[in-house]
Symmetry: C2
Subunit: 457 residues, 2 copies
């Protein structure tokens, strides 16, 4: 019998990020003879594909964001640290991260970087204040406050113009997130809120989906994109393609049409679902390793998902640039598992795996209840069957986490009934203190906002 | 047949507040020949007795805070307006309210004021920043962030002293809210988080329940109070009575004991559940009607819950001072129904009801799962039977609202399992930007907090 007790200290793996890439990499390393440290700037794993349901009041934040350390509680070789990574040092092999001012330097033997991507405003970061993105729980709760808040203020408004701009919702970006948001806002207005107001008629709300490109859901192909568009229009969404956003302010959005004409849409509530830009950690990796960065800040990796000259550093998920793979959950999950497997082989002294190959499991987007589009290789379908497939896939995923049963219940409520269980706006998030603040003279700026001396922001 | 069409415009009832008083008054007026306008500064009705479960991660905010306008959606004579009431004019019979700067003046024929109470720091409002109260959803989410955040930071801390102060939780006030919070924090630390951390042992967390008075749950009598105390101590809560808080700062709390000695407890996370002070609208009512105010700002009302000289103005709930009735849900509900009934009789030209009489339906408080205290008149019980009664009463109440089934599920998760489904901290609420910010030199103030240019606070 050989002694299997390791001679030296265990191989230290640091994982950055608690999204699909980070969490699945950590889980894949369960049982491996390594110490795993997952560093993330939120305490939760985010199931981003359902973020639009938190924004529109269907699900609670807890339902799509289980505590990362709870998911990993029984994995003895993994620890979780709250921290925003500020510096990577590929020479010293250390990660510097800080949480609420506490700075920690964590050394590694292998590193898996899965820090994801944020919203991109294509150089117009000033738009962010008026058109929040859809990348985090904070974004979703902010938008929830703005969406429901718009109807509240419309009920109080006095002029038709004011009511109109409060009841116009503009979603920028006709990819899956934008399509799902536009569809849900339309359902919310036309179905959920139908009987809730006395002066305004929520069913008359206008939902506009804008994109500079010429198609809805371009990644799904022309046929499915066309069907998605038709379905959106059937539920009352105004689809405007070839429309480039050139300005966003508190009361509206300016677009330039394909014919060069400019047009303004008066709308208080805007959602930005148009572009992503990889974590700024990508730039640090590129600088230190010589890897290339694309315009979205993604890092070009080698066929085994490592950095040139740094076989101990893997980059996976939305930060990774490889074979034009899209920034979707499956790419992150498969990349993370590959990186973990490769790393374990190396630690065990086994020969390396062949180059990473992505298996396309297809993609899907919901448009409204009972209606979705699904594309799996050559198989394409839309409508109710596609929606059932969407439901099935998400239920299977959700069962993977503990106590997500309430999610199913909330879906029953929303899809079969017309309710939304999670409509809370907090005072912290309330609409109030953002775009609406500067709505013009007919709004009194001396309102009692959240008291300044209160704990909180 | 007589013509029942009203000759003039309908009687206009304005209700201020969407808590138990406001909502139940509005519901009681369903079907009455009046126009009801409910003005409230939140868009939800808050089931305050379960706020501690939101703060400790058991329930989502939506589960205890249904949208007020959804609850009243089918009541055709009621409309709901978002607004903070800034001015009452009893002469002109108008209510001035503002939402996000939009000022609205709403006239009334009858007024029901049910604006509730906020936390009182007994003249030490500077404590609020370091020890949030337990009166609103914002409070509960803020505390959720601080409680879970404390453990996160303890996992990162380097010195034993730092770990100790991050893992000490002080709850001020041994009434029902304080007892329930202390019990839940103890269960969270000792049960839920048991396996979630690697460096700290959450089971070693210290939970201190302080009160200046000499008893736990004094309103439940000596015997039940004693049992509650014994149960709290059994689950590891340190009960300190006769301890007056004289100072609160970011890292601790200073108390003066009954013997005059001062003592400091190092604790980052503090909860204030010690006192209430009625809405400042009480002072306006007193000034304009000559009614008396007590020290907590409550308004002395006549036997029919109206103001002297103003039979058209009712005050109910936590703002009302009458027969030493406590600030509990049942007093608000019964007062609201009485006011609505009295008002309907007046409008219908019927003789008035006799003076308001409160029927004490008893009170209850949970201490931990499976353990509560219940006092109904002379009947008193504690332990599991009391807990079953608590569960029964809350289930019945909750069934009164649509889609609260998830609440039951979350309870199954928390009481039978050890999970907490709702542990999300948002970046907006994260601990980060409050008490923790000034923790001392070992914390770097140059941390990446929530970017200033982001939408939000």
């Amino acid at each position: 019998m050989t002694d299997t007790t390791p001679a030296g200290p265990r191989h230290r793996v640091v994982i950055i990020g608690s999204g699909f890439g980070g969490l699945f990499a950590a889980q894949r390393l369960a049982g491996a003879d390594v110490d795993v440290t997952l560093v993330a700037r939120t305490t939760h794993h985010l199931f981003q594909p359902l973020l639009y349901q938190v924004a529109t009041g269907i699900l609670s934040e807890g339902e799509i964001a289980p505590a990362t350390r709870e998911v990993l509680a029984h994995q003895a070789n993994a620890r979780v640290l709250l921290g925003e990574v500020t510096r990577l040092d590929l020479e010293a092999r250390t990660v510097t991260h800080s949480a609420v001012g506490r700075v920690t330097v964590t050394p590694y033997d292998s590193l898996i970087v899965a820090a994801g991507a944020g919203q991109s405003y294509f150089g117009n970061d000033r738009f962010a204040r008026h058109a929040p993105g859809m990348k985090s729980i904070d974004d979703a709760l902010e938008l929830r406050g703005r969406i429901f808040g718009s109807f509240e203020l419309a009920e109080l408004a006095s002029t038709p113009a004011e009511i109109e701009r409060l009841m116009t919702f503009v979603v920028v970006g006709a990819g899956p997130t934008g399509v799902e948001m536009a569809g849900q806002i339309a359902e919310l207005a036309h179905r959920t809120l139908k009987r809730d107001f006395r002066r305004i008629d929520p069913a008359s709300a206008r939902v506009v989906l804008l994109d500079a490109a010429s198609a809805v859901l371009p990644s799904f192909g022309e046929r499915l994109g066309g069907r998605a568009r038709a379905r959106l229009e059937a539920i009352g969404v105004e689809v405007r393609l070839g429309a480039t956003v050139v300005g966003v302010d508190s009361t509206g959005i300016d677009v330039e049409r394909a014919d060069g004409e400019r047009e303004r849409i008066e709308a208080v509530c805007k959602v930005w679902a148009a572009g992503v830009s990889a974590s700024p950690l990508g730039a640090q990796l590129a600088e230190q390793s010589g890897a290339e960065l694309d315009r979205a800040g993604r890092v070009q990796v080698l066929p085994d998902l490592t950095l040139p000259g740094h076989p101990e550093v893997f980059v996976v998920g939305d930060m990774m640039l490889r074979d034009r793979l899209p920034g979707v959950a499956q790419v992150a999950i498969q990349g993370a598992r590959y990186a973990a497997d490769q790393l374990m082989r190396r630690v065990a002294g086994q020969p390396p795996l062949p180059a990473f190959r992505y298996r396309d499991k297809g993609s899907m987007a919901t448009i409204s209840r009972f209606s979705a589009v699904v594309s799996i290789g050559r198989f394409q379908t839309s409508g109710f069957l596609a929606w059932l497939m969407w439901l099935g896939v998400h239920l299977v995923y959700i069962i993977g986490f503990k106590h997500r049963v309430t999610t199913l219940l909330h879906w029953v409520i929303s899809f079969l009934g017309r309710g939304r269980a999670e409509r809370v706006m907090t005072q912290q998030q309330v609409f109030a203190r953002t775009a609406i603040q500067d709505l013009g003279e007919d709004f009194d700026p001396t309102l009692p906002r959240v008291p300044k001396d209160r704990p909180g922001p």
